[in-house]
């Protein structure tokens, strides 16, 4: 017996149990002080003349027109997509709902999204036909059960598209709170990002190109607007939690995006651990006036800590894997005390990207070209 059958059977059983107490009720309904509204029936017998016949004919046509219009309106209300809601974690799922917020379709926009929907279906549930809130709750619960949402990966993006801006905002705010509470009931301190009316041509094209949802595409565009050093390609492969960590510091300036909660950085080592790793490797002694800065940055498609340490005589930059704490690269420069303190002296490091100020050695082609020019000039002078 599936869930829908259970409710139908429950409703049937209750309807049969309802006692007939209408007479008792009516006997207790004493006369009210207000007047009873009576519909005066048209008692005069209708005269069968042409005018009345044409009146009834017109009325019948009007009734048909009104009825037809009503049926069309009702059909549109039930079957026309009114809002599109996208949930992104790593699984991405798109829900299309009608005006009454009943789900018309549920589509996985990623492999994991399709797999979440398939598993919900295998459990005997179907999202189509459900209320939006119920379907979203079902999806969030399923994502928690499958481990897509957890304390380490607690961020979810909800994008709402509706031609009515106020309705978009109303749905977004309702889902932000409801999803936050659902996660909280499952012991997850969630970070829920909400945005509205994200679709435009550029965002749609990028979403299609990278195989991601329009919602995620829109979030990436908003982050790039604040951090032009990142490209769409850099960010497209990150999950929503990593994007949320990058977006967090600019949220106040992102008009279209709101967030409830804080994205989890528990999947990453702390900035303190990153600094400890840097010191353990460099054997630098920390003086009181040492300047230490650690920031989470994006490099080669993953989040790393850039730890910068400046003491009286040395400047070190360490690039540390945000998840494992492994030192990926480092550069150490001694500071020339005879100068103003900023000129670099000797440089050491393990990376290929250590830049020096030496001029490049000319290639053989350039040398040959110079010899040709000198020979030519000599011949002319001679």
């Amino acid at each position: 017996m599936n869930a829908a059958n259970i409710e139908t059977k429950l409703a049937n059983a209750i309807s049969k149990e309802v006692p007939d107490v209408l007479d008792d009720i009516l006997s207790k309904c004493n006369k009210q002080s207000g007047n009873i509204f009576e519909i005066n029936e048209f008692n005069n017998k209708a005269k069968s003349n042409k005018w009345i016949k044409s009146f009834y004919a017109t009325a019948a046509v009007l009734a048909l027109l009104v009825g037809g219009y009503f049926l069309i309106w009702q059909y549109q209300m039930v079957h026309t997509v009114d809002s599109v809601i996208t949930l992104d974690v790593n699984p991405s799922v798109e829900l299309k709902v009608n005006k009454a917020e009943i789900v018309l379709s549920a589509t996985g926009l990623s492999e994991d999204g399709a797999s979440v929907l398939e598993e919900i279906q295998q459990d005997g549930e179907k999202l189509t036909g459900k209320e939006l809130d119920e379907a979203v709750n079902e999806l969030v619960c399923s994502m928690v059960e499958k481990g897509y949402l957890s304390e380490l990966n607690n961020s979810i993006l909800i994008s709402v598209d509706n031609s009515d801006n106020e309705k978009s905002i109303e749905i977004k705010m309702r889902l932000l709170i409801s999803v936050g509470n659902t996660l909280s009931e499952r012991g997850i301190d969630g970070a829920i990002l909400g945005q509205i009316n994200t679709a435009n041509e550029k965002i749609s094209e990028l979403a299609e190109k990278y195989g991601i949802s329009k919602g995620k595409s829109s979030l990436i565009e908003s982050i790039i607007a604040k951090t032009p050093q990142y490209s769409f390609d850099d960010l497209a492969h990150l999950d929503i939690n990593d994007l949320s960590l990058l977006a967090e510091k600019w949220l106040d300036e992102m008009e279209n995006i709101s967030m409830v909660g804080t994205p989890s950085s528990k999947g990453y080592i702390s900035s303190e651990s990153a600094i400890d790793s840097a010191f353990a490797h460099s054997n630098i002694e920390i003086s009181d006036n040492a300047e230490i800065v650690a920031s989470l940055e994006l490099a080669d498609g993953k989040l790393i800590y850039d730890v910068s340490v400046i003491t009286d005589d040395i400047k070190c930059d360490y690039y540390i894997d945000g998840k494992t704490g492994t030192i990926l690269d480092w550069v150490s420069n001694t500071i020339d005390s005879g100068s103003m303190g900023n000129d670099q002296g000797l440089s050491t490091g393990n990376s290929d990207n250590v830049e020096t100020d030496l001029p490049e050695e000319p290639t053989e082609d350039i040398v040959d070209a110079i010899i040709d020019i000198i020979t030519d000039i000599t011949n002319k002078v001679g």
Binding site: I6, L10, I14, E17, C29, M77, N181
Partner: protein
């Protein structure tokens, strides 16, 4: 029986509001119309709170008498069913308090269904019995309201003064409990 799908939500709301407006001006016939449309929801909700058919019957009567006397105060805000069920809720809770003060018999012993066994199919009766025996009070209220009142989860959350997510999770848990109970044949 009041059956609401998305196809007739708007129509039904309009009709219920019209009945309440007619009751407000003393039209007893409208009480009958409203009763026919909403009696299953009212009785089901009262039963889910009280777990007792006799008390639920009293609350069913009192609800419509109360509607008769207070229809003038109803503001048509597009939520007539929620208004009706709010009256039911207050009356049922008040009845529950009275019962807790006076009765010393267990809640389960109050549950005696009125209809003859052959009036309801065995399977339907099993589901109702399972709902009464295996669900918590809140779970029972939520699933019965959803099954018989046509209210959305958001409206149920408002009616029961619960967060929407709580209503959704209790609803989901209730359905799973019922499915498991019926599958295992634990209902007696």
């Amino acid at each position: 029986m009041f059956v609401t799908t998305e196809h007739n939500v708007a129509l039904t709301k309009t009709a219920l509001e019209a009945y309440i407006a007619d009751i407000a001006i003393g039209d007893k016939a409208a009480v009958g119309e409203l009763y026919e449309e909403t009696k299953t929801a009212v009785y089901g909700f009262a039963l889910s709170i009280l777990k007792n058919t006799s008390d639920a019957e009293d609350v069913l009567q009192d609800t419509f008498v109360k509607i008769w006397s207070s229809a003038k105060g109803y503001s048509p805000l597009g939520k007539p069913m929620a208004w009706v069920l709010t009256i039911t809720k207050h009356l049922a809770i008040s009845r529950l308090r009275e019962r807790n003060k006076t009765a010393d018999i267990s809640e389960e012993s109050w549950l005696v269904f009125q209809t003859q066994p052959n009036a309801v199919s065995t399977e339907d009766r099993l589901v109702l019995t399972a709902a009464m025996q295996t669900l918590s009070s809140e779970e029972r209220q939520i699933i019965i309201l959803h099954a018989v009142s046509g209210l959305k989860h958001v409206e149920i959350a408002q009616l029961l003064s619960m967060p929407l997510s709580t209503v959704l999770s209790k609803y989901s848990r209730a359905r799973k409990k019922l499915q498991n109970t019926l599958k295992e044949g634990e209902v007696t």
